[in-house]
Symmetry: C2
Subunit: 227 residues, 2 copies
């Protein structure tokens, strides 16, 4: 499903160069559940943004279902982002002037779902993350963990075939975090591909395979042996 070859992302700042990703070779199959760990600043979010077609590499190739992503035009990329990929950002990226419900409806607007269906599906998604009583709150009227859950509901509402979650439980207590991971598990059971960046070892073990990044390179790629 996902093939990365020599994927590199370099930021040039004046005379300095930051190699955020430094030659990533990685294959992820359909329906795999992969977790990614690594120190702060090691390139995890950069890698997720490239996989999610939100950014382009400085060098190297990214094939999605055999297609070279760099060959796709803007419309094709937008279609992939809106219909196939659900992205939970490390910093949530909610629309500040929209309510929880409106924020979660947004991907369904792109998918051309009717207004009545949109409202119902968005309300269901928010109920699944235990925010049924916060539908009309705007982000600044929500706690940190509630905003994170709105971002999660927004990513799940389209039932994406690829879920990319960048530190989805960072602002959640253990119990609420477990409820979210159970939702991911359900999605995986339905055959979807899940990639989770996490600093929490307890979350990392929920995947079938854990990849470690240090300084923009993969240093470890371990498949959990399952009973």
């Amino acid at each position: 499903l996902i093939e990365l070859r020599g994927l590199t992302k370099v930021y040039v700042m004046g005379s300095e160069e930051v190699r955020a990703l430094d030659g990533i070779d990685l294959d992820i199959d359909r329906a795999e559940y992969v977790t990614i760990m690594g120190p702060s600043g090691s390139g995890k979010s950069t890698l997720m943004n490239l996989i999610g077609c939100l950014d382009t590499p400085t060098d190297g190739d990214y094939r999605l279902e055999g297609e070279l992503v760099s060959n796709l035009d803007d419309d094709e990329l937008a279609a992939i982002r809106n219909r196939r990929i659900g992205f939970i950002f490390q910093t949530f990226n909610l629309l500040p002037r929209a309510t929880s419900l409106e924020n979660v409806e947004l991907p369904l607007i792109y998918a051309r779902v009717t207004p009545a269906d949109r409202k119902e599906r968005a309300a269901q998604a928010l109920t699944k993350v235990d925010l049924a009583n916060r539908l009309d709150h705007r982000p600044n009227e929500l706690s940190g963990g509630q905003r994170q859950r709105v971002a999660i509901a927004r990513a799940l509402v389209t039932e994406p075939s690829i879920l990319l979650a960048d530190e989805p439980t960072g602002n959640l207590d253990t119990k609420t975090g477990n409820e979210i991971m159970a939702l991911f598990q359900q999605l995986h059971a339905d055959g979807q591909t899940i990639i989770v960046v996490t600093h929490d070892p307890a979350v990392a073990t929920l995947g079938e395979r854990t990849i470690r990044l240090i300084d923009g390179r993969i240093t470890e790629d371990v498949r959990q042996t399952q009973a």
Copy 2:
């Protein structure tokens, strides 16, 4: 040092009422190291904002060193916020167009430190959180955990007598998180008062006392017995 009596914060939304804090009674002594835990949405950040003089209660009293905070004027409140309290926000609240160094210098500008001293102290604070090689980056050129560490450095640079940290390790890997908690420990050893909101039980045990919030009320207040 800190006395809260019947502290209440109610948000009115149309015909609904959200009781974010519902009658908090709490005493915190000088040089105490307190951790606060509780489910997402239970009122932890609201409590921190009130203690940090960033918000005012709907009801109840807050005495800081015996003084009723509600009786203080804007200048006195600003003086408390800028010189006595260091605040690490759950959502960092960095100036987006300033560099790491400039963001950390900001509290020192209020404290009327000379430009040369400011730069040096800000650089030292950033070095302590392992960001010496990121002084010139702006927030959008930093990883999530790097932004969190800039927010931490900014709160520590004034050597505050009261440190309020709202989920300071949420975006950090275990090793980096331990380094940050070691900095807090040093500050505490110097006699400062530390209050940390955290979802991480490992961080909560570093305090001398753990308070639990549920639905805006304190349900538990446990002093760790120390060897």
